[in-house]
Symmetry: C2
Subunit: 348 residues, 2 copies
């Protein structure tokens, strides 16, 4: 079978740079599938995009960067409606906006997320996601990523798709994910600005933001703030933030929004602009992206090691395990033997 035209990396990269949404959609699918042609196309796209936009007195990162905004929070906190309103606000000032909705496809939350995705479809006509409401061709691009296989794959695809959007010239890239464990870690890794969304609730409202997750938030939002208990939720968040951070540290803003009506969305955009400015001026943007790149490379590396391990699994199961059980070998010795096998590039 000859290489299909829509799988030639150079061709895909050229068409994405020319603003063809169908080529971008194709690239994203390829990245989601982990196809090697897509990886090559992303590489080409990014270096071509870098070459087209010369640095203007800033580091190349700062000149090139789109603001990648991560939005996470528990199911039902109204994240998707908030994202809808953010799209409107950014479009109103002429930004091109890309949205990546990450769906870990948990059997427990699948329904809720599907609901979110359906709501967001109002933006996207057809699979190529031509903006329907914004009305300015090419201004909004929405993409859902579902888990195909293991979680690591989803996290890899999220980071790559986010970089593809950046290279394709979307100045604002919003990554929305449901806050359940791993996805929060992932979003913290790939986003420049992280918005944690909570909502007023019956006592356990704030517990939905786990203690360990507080530190990844750059902006905190209590959505559905027209409900009872919103002010209390804000106070609780603020006091948790004070406890968590050292004395003298500037605390991240805690805002109230009512996404349904759009109330508070302008303030959220202003807070995000402020955070972006501080990131760029302080050099923290570059540092943060480096940390993200390190974390991403580490995950990919452990995937490579795991794949190698799977190849060694046969030996472990058939020979070494019996020796450990009978007392001939300690598990630590078996681990050493396997490690040497990896070093030598496989079992002899």
């Amino acid at each position: 079978m000859e290489a299909k035209a829509d799988q030639v990396p150079e061709e895909i990269a050229r068409r994405v740079l020319a603003g063809e949404e169908r080529a971008l959609a194709r690239l994203l699918s390829g990245l989601e599938d982990g196809a090697s042609w897509a990886g090559a196309a992303l590489r080409l796209l990014r270096s071509a995009s870098a070459a087209r936009r010369p640095a203007r007195g800033q580091s190349s990162t700062e000149a090139l960067a789109s603001q990648v905004i991560g939005i996470t929070g528990p199911p039902g906190s109204g994240k998707s409606t908030l994202v809808d309103k953010l799209i409107l606000a950014y479009r109103a000032r002429g930004e091109r906006v890309a949205v990546l909705a990450v769906d870990p496809s948990s059997p427990f939350t699948g329904g809720a997320i599907l609901g979110d995705r359906v709501r967001m479809q109002s933006w996207a006509a057809g699979s190529g996601s031509v903006p329907a409401k914004a009305g300015s061709g090419g201004g909004v691009f929405i993409r859902s990523l579902a888990s195909r296989g293991r979680l690591g794959g989803l996290s890899r695809a999220s980071a790559q798709c986010s970089r593809a959007f950046e290279a394709a010239g979307y100045g604002i890239v919003i990554v929305e994910t449901v806050g359940i464990g791993q996805s929060e870690v992932d979003i913290a890794r790939l986003a420049d600005s992280v918005v944690l969304v909570a909502m007023p609730g019956s006592g356990d409202d704030i517990q939905t933001i786990k203690a360990g997750v507080m530190e990844i938030g750059d902006v905190f939002v209590v959505n559905k703030a027209d409900r009872e208990g919103a002010d209390r939720a804000v106070r609780e968040l603020e006091s948790m933030l004070e406890t968590a951070s050292g004395a003298g540290t500037e605390l991240p803003p805690v805002l109230k929004t009512v996404a349904e009506t759009g109330e508070g969305v302008a303030a959220l955009v202003a807070a995000l602009d402020g955070h972006w400015e501080r990131l760029r001026l302080s050099g923290e943007l570059e540092a943060r992206r480096k940390r993200g790149a390190i974390a991403e490379a580490r995950v990919l590396l452990s995937e490579l090691v795991l794949a190698e391990l799977e190849a060694l699994e046969g030996e472990l199961e058939e020979t070494l395990a019996a020796k450990i059980v009978s007392g001939e070998l300690e598990a630590a010795d078996a681990a050493e033997l396997l490690f040497e096998s990896i070093r030598k590039g496989g079992v002899e």
Copy 2:
């Protein structure tokens, strides 16, 4: 500094085989610290122990094995009192009993576990843990393992200490741990028979046994069964077990105990004897221990890989991360480069 007499592997192994409790205590400390002399001593001890006890028409595993009984459950379910009563029951029929109390030292549960350990101290006079109540020298040996450093270390030490007890001739090895996440996985890996302890409670009693944990239990116990709701707790457990297992599968027993008075403990011992018999007769004992050995070797291997990664961290942070951020390199390329470095045995 010359090698201390109590750190010579041959010497330690010989003295443990001769029944010296102080030497065993020393070995366990060494294993907890991850000392290499202790690993060597364990290796010697296990092969000497294997040589001393010839197989009697069974596989060597089955002839040699002690029954390793894992006991886990939420804080406050009365595990330690239950362990006390199990020690009494096994001692009454002449078994030598070793207890490993694994304490993940969580800041959230530390207090409760400490309480457990203090209660169990009634068995152990002094640090060498000479049995105080059992009254038959060398019949009971109790050891607490606390987390020193990372969780992986604790899990490694638990498995090694358990094997040391076996090789030292304790026919019953009880490993007690608090059911919080990783510790349940670890206990399932190293125990032959797993007892999950629950207690009657106010509605959420059974939720304290998480769904994913049900499958590791071989015997289920509702302790504090003199409290209201015990029968309901048993019924809920039974119906969860029915739901979780396929049709036609034999369900594990669900027993009621009152550890404080000893009620139901004889039935628990009988259930454990029955499970042990089935494991030995069916060949499942060998299969289970092999699975445990595989899992343990895998964890140790990933520790080796991680250590290697730490050595490469410098290169990743200083050179590769910047290239990923600027678009020169994809994270996947960086991962490939690092993987090759590991294969070649370090950065050049």
